[in-house]
Symmetry: C2
Amino acid sequence: MEIAERIRLGFQRQRKGQVLVSQDDLCSSLLFILDGEVRINKKSDAHNYELNEWTSQPLVLQPESLFGLSTRYTRTFTTETAVHILKVNKDAVRDILFYYPTFRINFLNLLSMRVQLANRQLWRPAASDLPLRFVQFLSSRCLRPAGRKELRISMQTLADELLTTRLNVSQLLNSLAQEGLIELKRERIFVPSMEKLLMGKV
Amino acid sequence: MEIAERIRLGFQRQRKGQVLVSQDDLCSSLLFILDGEVRINKKSDAHNYELNEWTSQPLVLQPESLFGLSTRYTRTFTTETAVHILKVNKDAVRDILFYYPTFRINFLNLLSMRVQLANRQLWRPAASDLPLRFVQFLSSRCLRPAGRKELRISMQTLADELLTTRLNVSQLLNSLAQEGLIELKRERIFVPSMEKLLMGKV
């Protein structure tokens, strides 16, 4: 393969439980997860809550962090199983990969799609309905609107974020738990399937 | 200039009051405003409010609309003065302009920056303070957080969007008007300087 001849491709196998990149790390290469499962974690700016997502789909880690204003990762990626990764450093991406129309178009499509989706979310009407507001809070923070998620947050912080009372949040979460859409643990809200939560509440 | 030899560059002069592109138009070229003033309008999805922005800075119209999921403009751009524009069709952008590292890097930086800024906004903490909530509502919908803006919205729609009452919105707007940060007309909120409003309230 012509590309493989021109750039040193860093194929690696990583064991379970390895941190691939950390939130706030400088992004100096494009990292592809080829197979295996990863956990994606992000802490809020005030460090008062955090979100975990899991995915076993092939994935490129935050391609928008390679260029732009702030070339730092905004999430932490940890392996949940053994994974195969491919690492291409930034110079090679910029000088060689972009020479290939297919890569270039895929990269541009990916970034453009992320701008489009984010802007659609920013213009979304406010939900007066509390369950919908909770689902929007969660989905607008997810990298992908599918799979299982875990929100680590106190009742009071969630109440503040949803502009409501602690009592209302407590009732909301208990009702969602009874519907089987979430599972509640101490300061942890586990969503077995984001698809189901979205279908049930949007 | 080498680029100019290879692609047909569509330099044009447009009179005042011309619609350059409309919200929902298919984006089939990259359009640069080289000088002059344009008004940028966006209607909310439910068509219950709209936002106007004005800028006289050089500008490329929604480069994220050229690729991705939905290749349609999401805003309307109208000339407020005579302007000079440069139009490069999508094929030429894709096949020729991307051949030039400077163009490529600028384009990637621009898209990446927009993903980064939008994601920062999506993770912004909810403001319990109503003036700040209003400023966030406005700034998250602006293409640029500077210059003059006009929001055409009813008191009730704004109250719904800010999750508060019509009375609270009315008091908020009157107080901002007294501070000279906004000017009120019937169903229109005019912001002479978004910078000042942001400095005063964020």
